[in-house]
Symmetry: C2
Subunit: 273 residues, 2 copies
């Protein structure tokens, strides 16, 4: 979302967009079912995956083996909808603005809450998201072209295999951001500090080596790479969705893209050094 | 120097090459006037520059303004040949295997000690050297092509201007090491930990953007960059030599290339995090 749009949104807001506790309360009441761009700025937004216990154990192993695309911030007890590491009041059944329901690995519908779908064998996962490191890049004065262009970041299916775990597997999905060489080095340094939100890039330059044509994104916005720039590729939180499609659990629930779980953790607390 | 050559040297040595104190004693006695490859492995080897005080003050400012090519490890008091931060017994007039003497910015001769040239206005500088970060790269399992090929690292005059200080200035000299993309990211992370020995690269990929043809090094070995690799460019300790040539002090003394000052500091102590 373009900065100008975010600013306009902030001016029009009926709620305190900056306060994650207040925003979760509004979301919980069903009064906010939109994307979370500009909400709780500076706080960690998380990708969400909810699975029956039978699949959840394998998915936890999948995350452990693939920490760059699937950095696990928190994991619930089976049947317990709380994630107290992320926020004391958090209820994963109601606190995401919009949920995406998959049956047998296929998209079914988007719904504003999942109380009717929750069962006592459901396990909720919260995974780090690139919004956190993008904040650190912007703070360091590095330009992010997709934001300047008012686009979402372009996302590609790479040729990089994830390490399989049980029924979960598949190719790593990556996001791309172009930088001039000196800024590319700085971007690697900055994102290296945030291993819980995808960390350093997995690839730089030469997209063909990981099976990518930068002009053919799989999802989201298109961003040009200029003659004096290198494309940097980060592991992307869409990867677990691909793994869920492959595993085909009878029921799986994620957040609707861009409608993230807003937590009480500040992005800065994730910095590893 | 190739690893095999270093190993052979270690087997033949009449002295304990691993002990920096013992090696400085041998060097001080005039019994070792060679390059220091394989000597004091794991200990910091330093670039040396010795200047009259009138020029030394400007050179100190030059180092402060250009920390990537000129990372200052230690600086003596005028006329005092000791650098106690680097080793308790160190005497900069005798403890370098071979010195290079410049008059009016021009090379005159190499000499095994400089007691006859020392004056009470001379100031000694010890600057970090890429050997320290190369040790960290090798420890991490990253291949260094110039070492595998038995070559010295290729060095280029880049189009990057150093920040001038008084009479000192000129272009930044850089060294180049090629890596596959994932290794390049790792190399940036590893060398970022060592700001006192040139730190992170100053450039990656696209050599033409800093005025370089990788096939035309200015000094030292030639190393090919393969189709699936990116060239990484680090600021190089030859840069101060270029700055000295530009400043043309009546007398300047450096180490002879590859004949470094071996200190008691372990490389690992330089890691910033």
């Amino acid at each position: 979302m373009a900065m100008a749009l975010m600013e306009a949104r902030r001016d029009d807001a009926a709620w305190d967009l900056d306060d994650p506790v207040a925003m979760r309360r509004v979301i919980r009441a069903g009064d906010f079912t939109e994307h979370t761009g500009g909400v709780g700025l500076g706080y960690v937004h998380a990708n969400v995956a909810i699975l029956p216990k039978d699949y959840a154990d394998e998915f936890a192993r999948f995350c452990q083996r693939n920490p760059k695309p699937c950095p696990l911030l928190a994991m619930s007890e089976p049947g317990d909808p709380r994630l107290p590491e992320l926020a004391a009041d958090l209820d994963i059944r109601t606190d995401v603005p919009s949920y995406r329901v998959f049956r047998d690995g296929r998209y079914v519908e988007d719904v504003p809450d999942i109380r009717h779908l929750w069962r006592d064998d459901m396990v909720a996962f919260a995974l780090g998201c690139s919004l956190s490191f993008e904040g650190a890049l912007l703070d360091a004065g590095l330009p992010l072209r997709h934001i300047d262009n008012g686009e979402t970041v372009p996302v590609y299916r790479s040729a990089i295999d994830c390490k399989p775990a049980g029924r979960f597997g598949g190719k790593m999905v990556v996001s791309m951001r172009p930088f001039k060489p000196a800024d590319a080095i700085r971007a690697i340094q900055i994102t290296s500090r945030f291993p819980n939100v995808h960390g350093a890039p997995v690839h730089i330059g030469k997209p063909e080596l990981i099976g990518i044509d930068v002009n053919q994104p799989w999802q989201c916005g298109r961003v040009d790479v200029r003659e004096d720039e290198l494309p940097l590729f980060w592991a992307c939180g869409v990867t677990p969705q691909v793994a869920v499609e492959q595993a085909r659990p009878p029921l799986a629930i994620t957040h609707t893209p861009a409608c993230m779980l807003v937590t009480d953790l500040r992005n800065a607390t994730l910095a590893s050094f």
